[in-house]
């Protein structure tokens, strides 16, 4: 294993600064540069699938890289296992499609170079979170991604956007402060910031009240970033207000990396709570509540992006609930659903951007009859809606199926029932979107309806790419591929701290 993973952080960070320094007035350069960077990173993340060896059951991956050659407790390491690879694929795939989409979509905004710089900073932050083996480093990357996202939410600088960004900023800052406090306490107790070393310390000396306090703080911070109920309230304001590609990034990957991934790393690999009934039951309860209340809130919305945003809460509920089951199948189901949700929710937000660009409104009550006018948007949005609603043969069906089966097999039929109810309500809400946006009679201004509404080429291409993935991700459960991607990633969590420490090589 070479130094390849470093590129995931360096490339976007470097290009982002280059835009600000050199290409402020040449948005074309930053557009093309960003597309090239994200495409490269997406390809690199796919190459990483080939890393590792097959042990007869599944592929094992664990690569540790000490930055600058510093020995471990002193230096910072990059640690890459199957979970990281899975998440890197998700993040860089979505980033690539989103930036491709932005090439057309962002035309109506000024200072686009800043936009691309910020989105690359966000990407660098997320890739950093995924790769780093150091707690404080994780916090820094988390702030990098968070601060970029605050600015990007307010990118339109209208009143609504600024207000949403302000709420997001305040809530996010509270979370970040608590996370920092948690990191400090861990450092205070264990004397190290390295995740593997801290984990080893906890393995040796056990948990104590201070560590539980630190864990609660971290858990709260990451829950807020993951927008689990009751920490969710910033999301339905922030996600709709951002430009559509940013909404897609935020709902598609940011809440997953900053929230769920960090939570899982800390909960399972650092504190080793994979068998702790309190932790697992908390995940179950919080996930179940988010799932049901999120989807109910979505049912009530007529603003298409706000509706999607509430579904993000609900879908994160699915993921967290599945992982909270604590079984291997639940873990796989949760990670699979996380992947699927990244794809279909990004797709849906990109659709909403195309709709908004074409019609000038986000209200479902003012749309209608657009299937004929915007065929690509209509078809891809149908695919996205069916995926999120769990209709075969699309990817969401398989992950929901696995979640329901996992819940029943884990002896939690109540949570399986919640998943079923959530699924029906999701279906209801997305069929509403289909009906009012695409099928019903047109309620738009006639002049608008008769003009050319088709989305520009790059927007169509990126929506089509994601729609195709909605179908092809179903293949992840085929036994051969399953052992390559999903099963090893779940194993990294199931093995807890011991697996992580061993992977880093202590």
């Amino acid at each position: 294993m070479s130094n390849l993973p470093v590129l995931f952080v360096i490339l976007p960070l470097g290009f982002g600064f280059l835009y600000i320094l050199l290409a402020r007035r040449r948005p074309f350069v930053s557009e093309m540069g960003s597309v090239a960077v994200t495409l490269t990173l997406f390809m690199l993340s796919l190459i990483l699938i080939g890393a590792g060896y097959f042990d007869g059951q599944q592929v094992i991956r664990s690569f540790n890289l000490n930055m600058g050659g510093w020995a471990l407790p002193m230096g910072i390491n990059i640690y890459l296992d199957s979970l990281t690879v899975l998440m890197l694929i998700i993040v860089n795939m979505i980033s690539f499609t989103v930036i491709l989409y932005s090439v057309n979509y962002m035309k109506k905004y000024s200072s686009r170079s800043y936009f691309y710089a910020l989105i690359l900073f966000m990407l660098a932050g997320m890739n950093g979170i995924l790769l780093t083996g150091d707690l404080f480093n994780l916090y820094v990357f988390l702030e990098l991604a968070s601060v970029s996202s605050y600015i990007l939410v307010s990118f339109g600088v209208e009143a609504e956007e600024l207000e949403a960004a302000f709420k997001y900023l305040v809530m996010g800052a509270i979370a970040s402060a608590l996370i920092l406090l948690g990191v400090i306490i861990i450092y205070l107790v264990s004397g190290t910031l390295n995740i593997a070393y801290a984990a080893q310390f906890i393995q040796e000396y056990g948990m104590n009240r201070a560590l539980y306090f630190a864990f609660s703080l971290l858990l709260m911070g990451f829950s807020l970033k993951a927008a689990l109920i009751p920490f969710h309230a910033w999301l339905p304001d922030a996600h709709p207000s951002a430009p559509a590609p940013i909404s897609a990034m935020l709902s598609g990957v940011v809440i997953k990396v900053l929230g769920v991934y960090a939570l899982l790393r800390v909960g399972f690999n650092l504190f080793d709570l994979g068998n702790d009934p309190y932790f697992l039951n908390l995940l179950l309860v919080v996930g179940g509540i988010s799932l049901i209340i999120g989807v109910l809130l979505a049912l009530y919305q007529w603003d298409i992006k706000r509706l999607f945003a509430y579904h993000s809460i609900s879908q994160m509920g699915y993921v967290v609930m599945a992982i909270g089951l604590g079984t291997g199948l639940g873990m796989v189901a949760g990670l699979f659903h996380l992947f699927n949700h990244a794809v279909f929710k990004s797709l849906l937000f990109l659709n909403s951007g195309a709709l908004e660009t074409a019609t000038g409104t986000r209200s479902l009550k003012k749309m209608g009859g657009l299937a004929r006018k915007m065929p690509v948007t209509a078809v891809t949005s149908m695919i996205g809606s069916l995926s999120i609603s769990g209709i075969p043969p699309f990817n969401g069906f398989w992950s929901k199926l696995m979640i329901i089966f996992a819940a029943v097999l884990a002896g939690q039929p109540f949570y399986a029932l919640l998943a079923v109810i959530g699924s029906v309500l999701t279906l209801a809400s997305f069929m509403k979107v289909q009906r009012y946006a695409f099928w019903d009679k047109c309620r738009l201004d006639k002049k608008i309806y008769e003009s050319d509404l088709t989305a520009p080429i790059f927007m169509r291409v990126s929506m089509l790419i994601l729609a195709v993935f909605c179908i092809f991700l179903s293949f992840l459960i085929l036994p051969g591929i399953y052992r390559l991607i999903l099963s090893p990633a779940s194993l990294d969590l199931l093995q807890g701290a011991a697996g992580y420490i061993g992977g880093v090589g202590l």
Partner: protein, 625 residues
């Protein structure tokens, strides 16, 4: 290496998917190519069905699928109804918009149906079953604006039941968990077999049974999951109504119910689950037929009958006796035959007159004789008039119910009464249809001079179906014994019962025909001797307005709506109290509005929630040791 029969099944499933994709991308300018591709696919599928039918019962694809007599039987008839509707579609759909989508969904439906009937594994079953819900939704939604509401309702009810079905299967899997489930991948391999004959004992088994039957009910359209059927029947294209809610979904829903009661579960005969099925069946028969009585639009009325007839099939299967089950399955087939015929006839009438309101129609009998004849026969069949097919299967179901009574208990009387009463009401309702469309005074609200019989593409299919109603009624021995009996493996016991002893179809038909001839003769004689004079109607010194003298067939049935207890029930019904979709949406929107109002947009509130969450976390983690 795949065996030959595995190839046949693979082709049955895959071929329609590819040809469906093909017709989807063919440019709309090229004419007839889509029709040709669809026809060729159908012919190929018929060949596959034949090959699968003659093959012995066996497992395929390491247990994911299996072929047996019943599956081939159902698949054959799905293709048969596909062919009938395809021919009709050549006439009715020509020149309509989104034709490529229509044929694509049609073909995909056939492929997925093949997948459903042959699958013997939970995952395979679920994916094909769910995909059928999707094609159903897309096909209903083809008509855009008008159908967008019914399409949404349909996918919500059918898709919601699918989600319940997943839960049911999960419970079932839990009850039959393989000893060693070390690797989670095993969940998607062959050990999730469906034909496990789980006894219905214990809470999980009962729950799984109910969830599975709910999925079957939603597809077939039994109460309380029936409301999509009338909605979709009246607002989708006639050929879609005939193909999906009319025939295919009945076949699949009842097929699944039969499998649930025989191969997935085994039920003790005095189980509460039998009573549950009987109650659903009886309520469905009566409730739906009462609704049908007061409808004023043809296809909506037919849609309610499509629900009502399902009740008979459920009753038949719930008897758990060979004769009752054979009756239920035979009724499933018969219902699909006459119900598609009725829907397609209704389509002909609609195209000819431009309306489907019974109040506006009338006197079409002499303008559309072929449609009239077919619809008359099919109406008689659905009402259970001998010697038609509907009578035979209902008779078998009655016999099954009586047989249940022989083993004690009195509840069978209730089910039997409901079934017979429902049959009478069905007849009443179809007299209304036939009278209103074909017999009553021609209404001046439609341009009668333009009304004419439809093209052969649209009359031949209905005539074929009506003919089968007659053939299956008179020569019922052949379809019943050769198909149903051998398909369910009850042939020897059915033959042993010598069913034909108490119903001599041939002799009875001769007597009936003689009676009809005598009646005609009397009518002719009386016409010879009576002196008729036709004069305009005068009321109060002036000639009566023909518009006001018009007496539609629907008027008489309004009295039913005004009956004391029933009127309040109809009142509740019109307010959506019996519609699970309405109830569900009202309830969830109510709850949603509560939560939505909590989101005031005030930042300090939001921060407070987050801090409360933190306190809960601290409490959980700091209080545990």
């Amino acid at each position: 290496m795949l065996s030959g029969i595995e190839y046949f099944l693979l082709i049955s499933i895959i071929l329609p998917f590819f040809t469906g994709l093909l017709v989807l991308v063919i440019p709309t300018e090229i004419k007839f190519l889509r029709e040709i591709i669809a026809s060729v696919t159908l012919v190929a599928l018929f060949i596959m069905a034949g090959l699968l039918g003659i093959a012995p019962e066996q497992q395929l694809f390491s247990g994911f699928f299996s072929s047996d007599g019943l599956a081939s039987f159902i698949f054959f008839f799905i293709l048969f109804f596909g062919a009938i509707n395809l021919i009709y579609a050549f006439g009715s759909e020509a020149g309509k918009s989104r034709l490529n989508e229509f044929y694509a969904y049609f073909l995909w439906t056939l492929g997925a149906a093949a997948g459903v009937v042959f699958s013997a594994n939970m995952i395979a079953f679920l994916s094909f079953w769910g995909f059928l819900g999707l094609t159903l939704y897309m096909m209903i939604g083809l008509d855009g604006e008008a159908a967008s509401g019914p399409a949404k309702k349909t996918i919500l009810i059918v898709g919601g039941a699918d989600a319940l079905l997943i839960l049911g299967f999960a419970l079932l899997f839990l009850l039959n968990l393989p000893e060693q489930l070390a690797d989670t991948t095993q969940i998607f391999s062959g050990n999730m077999g469906l034909w496990i004959e789980q006894p219905v004992t214990g809470p999980y088994a009962v729950l799984a049974f109910i969830l599975l039957t709910m999925a079957a009910f939603s597809k077939a359209g039994a109460m309380p999951l029936h409301t999509w059927v009338p909605a979709a029947s009246s607002d989708a294209r006639p050929v879609t109504a005939a193909f999906l809610p009319g025939s295919l979904d009945k076949l699949l829903g009842i097929y699944f119910l039969y499998r649930i009661c025989t191969k997935i579960f085994v039920m003790p005969e005095d189980s509460w689950m039998v009573t549950y099925l009987m109650v659903i069946g009886a309520v469905t028969i009566i409730g739906a037929v009462m609704m049908a009585l007061v409808q004023h639009r043809i296809r909506r009325l037919l849609g309610y009958h499509a629900v009502s007839q399902v009740g008979y099939m459920i009753l038949g299967i719930a008897t758990l006796t060979p004769i009752g089950m054979a009756g239920g399955l035979f009724h499933m087939l018969n219902n699909a035959i006459y119900k598609s015929c009725l829907f397609l006839c209704a389509g002909n009438v609609e195209t000819a007159t431009g309306t489907d309101e019974l109040d506006k129609l009338g006197g079409l009998g002499k303008f559309m004789p072929l449609t009239f004849l077919s619809m008359l026969i099919a109406s008689a069949a659905i009402s259970g008039v001998p010697p038609l097919n509907g009578f035979v299967s209902k008779w078998l179901i009655y016999r099954g119910l009586i047989q249940v009574g022989e083993s004690g208990g009195l509840s069978w009387i209730v089910w039997l009464t409901a079934a017979m009463f429902g049959s009478a009401l069905t007849l009443a309702s179809f007299i209304k249809i036939i009278h209103s469309i074909f017999w009553s005074t021609p209404s001046c609200r439609i341009p009668l001079e333009k009304v004419k019989e439809q093209s052969y593409f649209r009359t031949i299919p209905v005539l074929i179906l009506a003919g089968i109603c007659l053939v299956f009624g008179i020569a019922y021995i052949y379809p019943l014994f050769l198909y149903v009996g051998s398909a369910i493996g009850e042939l020897p016991r059915l033959v042993g019962m010598e069913l034909y002893r108490d119903w001599h179809a041939g002799g009875a038909t001769v007597l009936l025909v003689i009676a009809l001839l005598i009646g005609l003769f009397v009518y002719w004689i009386s016409g010879l001797f009576s002196r008729l004079r036709r004069v305009p109607t005068w009321v109060g010194g002036s000639q009566h307005d023909p518009e006001r003298a018009y007496f539609p067939g629907t008027e008489f049935y309004r009295t039913i709506q005004r009956l004391p207890v029933i009127s309040s029930l109809y009142g509740y019904q019109s307010r959506g109290f019996f519609d699970i979709y309405e109830l569900g949406s009202r309830f969830s929107v109510g709850v949603a509005s509560y939560f939505s109002n909590l989101h005031s947009g005030v930042l300090s509130t939001y921060v407070t929630w987050a801090l409360v969450g933190l306190v809960v976390y601290l409490f959980v983690f700091l209080g545990i040791w």
